[in-house]
Symmetry: C2
Subunit: 256 residues, 2 copies
């Protein structure tokens, strides 16, 4: 039933967290039941939804290491059908702590197992790296959604990311598919933006979402109010583009 989607790209600041919060919120506003797991020790998905990382007793780290049940780490958010598993700083230690753990790649998969059919969608917000945390997320997922900032350095990392996806698919999770590549922070006035879209369509056309997320100041203001952009300014280009993305996602089958 539930579709588990990792939102990942090792390039930093490309809109992973912004996509997680606003796509999850848009789907839940349209009646889907959605869980967002903050799997980045920075805790931006947690704070972007109005919670201080570490403040609540609930967090993904204790469920990851098997100390608690993930059901007990789920907290309600400002939107009825959207739930969050927050993070705290303990997660940043997990990279080194888990290196010698048995089946270290599948710890998140085991933690999520009991609740995976309780939601229509489960999103995992990943840190900007291809480390053990991100591998855990990919091993647990049905697919990966790749935000691609419309800037020069953005295309550089794609090859490395696709190699990692292939390795995970071959060794740990043969069902891992690519949900799609999402152009973000598109700016009409910037030549590079247009070049990146053209280039990504040349190399990866079948993966690219129709929806393009524009650079929109409302998207960067909303987290300071602890709200998804739809609740902050529903008429903004940012809110409209993420609603459109949610509709496109619901129609799409992920590409193998």
């Amino acid at each position: 039933m539930g579709k588990i989607i990792s939102v990942s790209n090792q390039k930093g600041g490309v809109g992973k967290t912004t996509t997680c919060i606003n796509l999850a919120a848009s789907l839940s506003i349209m009646g889907k039941s959605v869980l967002l797991i903050d799997f980045d020790p920075q805790g931006n998905s947690t704070s972007g939804l109005g919670f201080q990382p570490g403040e609540s007793k609930r967090n993904i780290y204790s469920a990851l290491i098997g100390e608690t049940k993930i059901q007990d780490q789920i907290q309600p958010t400002i939107i009825n059908k959207l739930k969050l598993v927050p993070t705290n700083v303990d997660l940043s230690g997990a990279e080194i702590e888990l290196v010698d753990a048995p089946e270290r790649e599948s710890m998140l998969k085991r933690a999520i197992e009991p609740i995976k059919d309780d939601y229509d969608y489960i999103f995992i917000d990943c840190p900007p790296s291809l480390s053990l945390l991100t591998i855990n997320a990919l091993v647990s997922s049905d697919s990966i959604l790749i935000p691609l900032q419309c800037e020069y350095y953005a295309m550089e990392g794609m090859t490395q990311l696709l190699i990692t996806i292939k390795l995970v698919k071959e060794s740990y999770n043969e069902n891992l598919a690519i949900e799609g590549i999402l152009p973000t922070m598109f700016d009409m006035r910037n030549n590079i933006s247009k070049q990146v879209i053209e280039e990504v369509k040349v190399h990866f056309n079948e993966y690219v979402f129709q929806t393009v997320i524009p650079r929109n100041v409302r998207l960067s203001e909303a987290p300071s109010f602890g709200k998804p952009v739809f609740l902050y300014d529903r008429t903004s280009k940012g809110a409209i583009s993420y609603l459109q993305l949610a509709k496109e996602l619901m129609k799409r089958k992920s590409v193998e």
Copy 2:
């Protein structure tokens, strides 16, 4: 003689690489001898200076693990007094490979030792994480320069970063100082930008650079030509602000 400065912030996309390339270039244009070490497996400092990561035989990874001498990994760049130690994808494996190495935190420090007095400044471009690679960079450095994007999530990570700096100072490198906090991507039209500057001055006033780097499209276009912004468009606000930063850095003593 040489001052070794890590440019680091675990928040992604805040302008670490852009600061490394353009500050290093500005200092070398003003007559200082500068080395830039690309210590991020993404290789954006390498490609931003016109080289394809992995293409050249030279790379920091082989010197890090002691296979080669760092002197043999240094390559000239488009600017006479600016040299680069490129990276390649091998570096991404180092995180997990080095976990059990003896004195794993000091491997970069040992690698840099033979050349540290050959330059006026050595910059280390760090990945967006607080992992073993970043710890290695901090252990090798005299100081850390922290780019701070003028956006809401930017302030969130500061506490965690300052804790990490304190831990490194206590356990591995008592001389590690804070070179400064550099506001980046400042946008006059965006309220958040002004709020972030005000807030960072309230909490960390003695560390904040006078220079503020504005959001400037020339800075994001320059890397696609493999050039620092000064050689791409020397009249741009981006080029002028990094020259100003270089002058400020030369005057400043780092804050203990």
